[in-house]
Symmetry: C2
Subunit: 237 residues, 2 copies
Amino acid sequence: MNLILLEPADWIDASHARVCDPRRLTHLREVHRAAPGDSLTVGALDGAIGRGELLTLTASEALFHVPALDREPPAPLPVHLLLALPRPRMLARSLEHIAALGVKQLTLLHTRRVEKSYWQSPELRPDKIHQHLMLGLEQARDTRLPEVTLETRFKPFVEDRLPALLAGRRGLIAHPGMPQACPRGIDEPTLLAIGPEGGFVDYEVTRFEEAGCEGVHLGERILRVETAVTALLARLF
Amino acid sequence: MNLILLEPADWIDASHARVCDPRRLTHLREVHRAAPGDSLTVGALDGAIGRGELLTLTASEALFHVPALDREPPAPLPVHLLLALPRPRMLARSLEHIAALGVKQLTLLHTRRVEKSYWQSPELRPDKIHQHLMLGLEQARDTRLPEVTLETRFKPFVEDRLPALLAGRRGLIAHPGMPQACPRGIDEPTLLAIGPEGGFVDYEVTRFEEAGCEGVHLGERILRVETAVTALLARLF
């Protein structure tokens, strides 16, 4: 927690905020070893960053004086990430990486090799997704929450929504065996599609290519989804 | 497990091997849904890759006929990775990422902000390290086991061993706030140093710089060690 990220409910007035949840209180005590008078980095959800003075710290709340938030959060990545829904434990970690790396639009997509049961996982509940994204933002000192969209049917997504997402964006589909190596250091608006464990099936790759996406690969190593997400984003941007 | 990685003890003769451990047997049954007659990708530890035919699969063993191993494993990364010892759970995952990405030399180093207790973790036992590296190799279809060295004292390492590691290698120390952005797409032999959670202390950064290392950063986001390792390797090579 490199930033104390204050949600609307945490604010008492324009310059005071209160943290009451056990996770952050424990972190303040045990990792930060915070004490009244300490100055800590704080941010407003979807807003700016600044310093907050810890006024009191008890077992049930930490009270901060936040005179001003005057720094912008880090720049977002210019990418809309389209990720085949990973299995639940991998999803949880991937959400943290994705938020920490600065992705602001994420679509979780059903594909042939996504197990249907994954869509019933409690990890997909809005509060769980929110929690993992918050952890990633706190890690990276960011404040802007990514938007997450769930697309449970491949064909309607590709036919009805993909064309609009590709308007003004370069489309890339990461898939082993594609002819082109993943480009480096681009800064244009991009849609990046990443398949599930086991990959996209040929039909899905073809549909992305027909929609205008370029197939790219990361070499002959097959990476886990969470490793591939980080590796692709770090290489692209 | 995209490759069945056969250790010396798994071989019965030059063209037959047997897998007896529960982890791999379960994976063959439940994930691969393998049956006698199936052809699977196999590799010899530190050797070549080929196809093996599953002859029998029982509750206690899988017997393979491996007529020939005729493909080289993927190329290694030209990097010696010097990693401040992460906390145990992070270490386990980092070892898998590191092996999957193709690092072949890894030094785990003590620095000021590494908790001394981490050096007593069971995750540092040679069999545990071996197990995590094997998982990474199986994932990436690689066979060459990384060499892992433990350096429990910073000063003797920097004074006595670092100069030899830097002979013929470009030295990079990844640290937030350094003036130079991490380079992209290099292919020269490299030593890459990555600090612990909380970072290197100034004294340590100075010692690396004095030894000839360039300080590089990955932007203003602070990443978890496992995310930073993958991001730096994917961007550099």
